[in-house]
């Protein structure tokens, strides 16, 4: 595998893991713009557990410990944050990410503003299997009773409450598990590039990850996979095509075209690329869900 392809594959894998972390709360309609915060927590915690100046644990131990650490923090803040909704939730998670990055920059024992070197290296043979495991886990998670609850909350929270779904528990679990996945992605990022800086995990990263999920679609577990792949592949493909065709302006301005894509996608397919209806149509017999009555009514087919 050439170095270039491998580098792109790593970026794709990390994007997919991050995207599933945001997807789980988004599947219940909670928009989390704080991805960067959880990624920072995971990356720094794992680096510190691994570092010779820290706990000196091997990588296979430091990553799960970082996930648990992030999970505890996410669990603790999920109660106040999930009290907010809609625009307020977007703002609260966003503020949380900024607070985390502000703290990380100022902690001297993890390098402060200068960044923090990470000891153990995770190469592509670690990251790809982990990514596949995350994807499979997310599909499983969405097929459980809890996943069904999340979907029902996404569609209509008050009706879900009436039918006896424990809305708060479901939301807290989705938020916490999502945060742990992002932490996993952050740790792998640190262990792959062997160097982390709080400034890398900025608002723009959170925005992009939220875009992966919303563009892919929040209705099915395929959404984040499609969204992240689209984001990782399309700009690169555009660059390749533009460069081979000798269009320098297109190679430089490919993100403009990409922005236009996003706007148009929202015009023509506002629920994201992958919806339940499309999944049914594509899947044929293989993935067909048992059709609930409510779907027939909503779909109007």
């Amino acid at each position: 595998m050439s170095g270039y392809i491998e580098a792109q594959l790593i970026i794709l894998c990390l994007s997919i893991i991050y995207a599933y972390g945001i997807f789980l709360p988004a599947a219940s309609g909670q928009l989390n713009l704080g991805a960067a915060g959880f990624i920072t927590l995971g990356a720094y915690a794992s680096a510190w557990f691994n570092a010779s100046t820290g706990a000196e644990l091997p990588m296979w131990l430091s990553i799960p410990l970082a996930m648990i650490f992030t999970g505890i923090i996410a669990f603790a803040i999920s109660f106040p944050i999930l009290r907010t909704r809609g625009v307020y939730m977007v703002l609260a998670t966003f503020a949380f990410a900024e607070v985390v990055s502000g703290v990380a920059i100022n902690l001297e024992f993890v390098g402060g503003a200068a960044g923090f070197p990470v000891d153990d290296h995770a190469d592509v043979t670690v990251i790809v299997p982990v990514t596949i495991a995350v994807i499979l886990f997310s599909f499983y998670f969405m097929s459980t009773r809890l996943g069904l609850s999340l979907r029902s909350i996404h569609d209509d929270e008050s009706v879900a409450t009436l039918f006896g779904v424990n809305v708060r528990t479901s939301k807290v679990v989705a938020f916490t598990v999502g945060a742990m996945l992002m932490s996993l992605g952050g740790s792998l990022y640190g262990h792959h590039y062997n160097y982390i800086e709080a400034q890398t995990f900025n608002v723009l990263l959170s925005i992009y990850i939220l875009l992966y999920v919303l563009m892919g679609g929040t209705q099915t577990a395929w959404g984040p996979l499609i969204g992240a792949t689209f984001f990782a592949v399309v700009p690169e493909a555009l660059r390749e095509i533009a460069e081979s065709a000798g269009l320098k302006w297109l190679a430089e301005g490919r993100f403009i075209l990409f922005g236009v894509f996003i706007v148009l996608l929202m015009v023509f397919r506002s629920e994201g690329v992958m919806t339940r209806t499309l999944q049914d149509r594509l899947g044929g017999g293989l993935f067909r869900r048992k059709k609930p009555i409510a779907d027939d009514m909503a779909g109007g087919s």
């Binding site: 988004a26 219940s28 309609g29 909670q30 928009l31 106040p80 944050i81 009290r83 907010t84 909704r85 809609g86 625009v87 307020y88 977007v90 703002l91 609260a92 966003f94 503020a95 949380f96 900024e98 607070v99 990055s101 502000g102 703290v103 920059i105 100022n106 402060g112 503003a113 909350i153 996404h154 569609d155 209509d156 929270e157 608002v203 723009l204 925005i207 939220l210 875009l211 919303l214 563009m215 929040t218 302006w249 430089e252 301005g253 993100f255 403009i256 990409f258 922005g259 236009v260 894509f261 996003i262 706007v263 929202m266 015009v267 506002s270 629920e271 909503a298």
Partner: protein, 312 residues
């Protein structure tokens, strides 16, 4: 004395945030959506002002030079920035608000315009990067560095003018909201859009006006930013807008006067925390305050409770 100087600087910086915060709060108050095109418009206006003033537009530089001369190119800059931003705002309205009503009306429906507006943010940032590059662009201020001092406290004249100007614009806006027919229609939409339609408010014609007003607020703010701070780049909007969001939340979502006070306060908080604890810590007080506020008093200091509860 130094501390008073810092407070004055903070107030001036707050002046920049005020208009952006008011732009955010107007869109959130009226349409219940967090408009991420605001940083883009702010940045685009600032860069257009720079480009016109310094003769770096992609075309039309000679025309501007022959009409206005080197002396008055800043006037041309203001005109270009305002006109372009007003037009762009209409395009943005066409592609964000119009698609707000989701077909199935689920919990993430308010995400649709959010995503479109993020798309526009990406478009404008990369438009600027591919035209002018990603390095900081430095303009020479047409007014020089005029300062005067009262008892060792230094005031910069352009900054005072912009602070006053931004306050005047915002006061005019709030008078407009209170006293005119348009203002009444806007408040009706903010209160309850469906009822507003029943009462004969033409929502589809009023909403573009809201977009143009917020676009012009961003444009004026961006122009003043270029004149005062002289250095702009493609990402200046992100930095300013994130802080302005904090100011808006502090004042209460959807409250114009709250946004003014919040913006000024955040400006002072930023300068004071840089002064007291250093630049690395400067983010913490702002975001910590925002987080605590959102959790414990999400309505902010003067907000109302309607926002985010089943509008549209």
């Amino acid at each position: 004395m130094l501390i008073i100087q810092q407070l004055v600087n903070g107030l001036m910086l707050g002046g920049v945030y005020v208009m952006v915060a008011v732009a955010f709060t107007l869109i959130i108050g009226m349409l219940n959506f967090l408009n991420f095109t605001i940083p883009a418009l702010f940045m685009f206006a600032a860069v257009l002002m720079y480009a016109t003033m310094m003769g770096h537009l992609p075309f039309g530089n000679d025309l501007i030079l022959s009409v206005f001369g080197t002396e008055y190119r800043w006037v041309a800059g203001i005109i270009v920035a305002l006109v372009v931003i007003a037009l762009v705002s209409l395009v943005i309205e066409r592609f964000t608000y119009r698609y707000m009503k989701a077909k199935y009306g689920d919990a993430t429906e308010h995400a649709l315009p959010l995503v479109s507006s993020l798309g526009f943010l990406i478009i404008f940032e990369h438009l600027v990067v591919s035209t002018w590059g990603s390095d900081p662009l430095t303009a020479t201020s047409p007014f020089g560095q005029g300062t005067f001092s009262i008892d060792t406290i230094i005031f910069s004249v352009p900054q005072i003018v912009s602070l006053v100007l931004s306050l005047v614009v915002v006061v005019m806006l709030s008078v407009m909201l209170k006293a005119t027919k348009l203002g009444r229609a806007l408040r009706a939409i903010a209160e309850r859009p469906d009822t507003a339609i029943l009462m004969g408010v033409e929502v589809s014609r009023i909403v573009p006006v809201v977009y143009v007003i917020t676009g012009l607020l961003c444009a004026v703010s961006g122009i003043l930013f270029t004149i005062n701070y002289a250095t702009v780049d493609a990402y200046v909007g992100d930095t300013v807008a994130t802080v302005a969001i904090a100011g808006m939340v502090l004042g209460g979502l959807g409250n114009v006067w709250g946004a003014i006070i919040g913006g000024l306060f955040i400006g002072m908080l930023e300068v004071m925390s840089i002064y007291i604890v250093g630049a690395d810590f400067a983010k913490l007080p702002i975001w910590g305050l925002l987080l605590v506020l959102l959790v414990f008093k999400p309505t902010g200091l003067f907000g109302h409770t309607l926002i985010g509860k089943g509008k549209f």
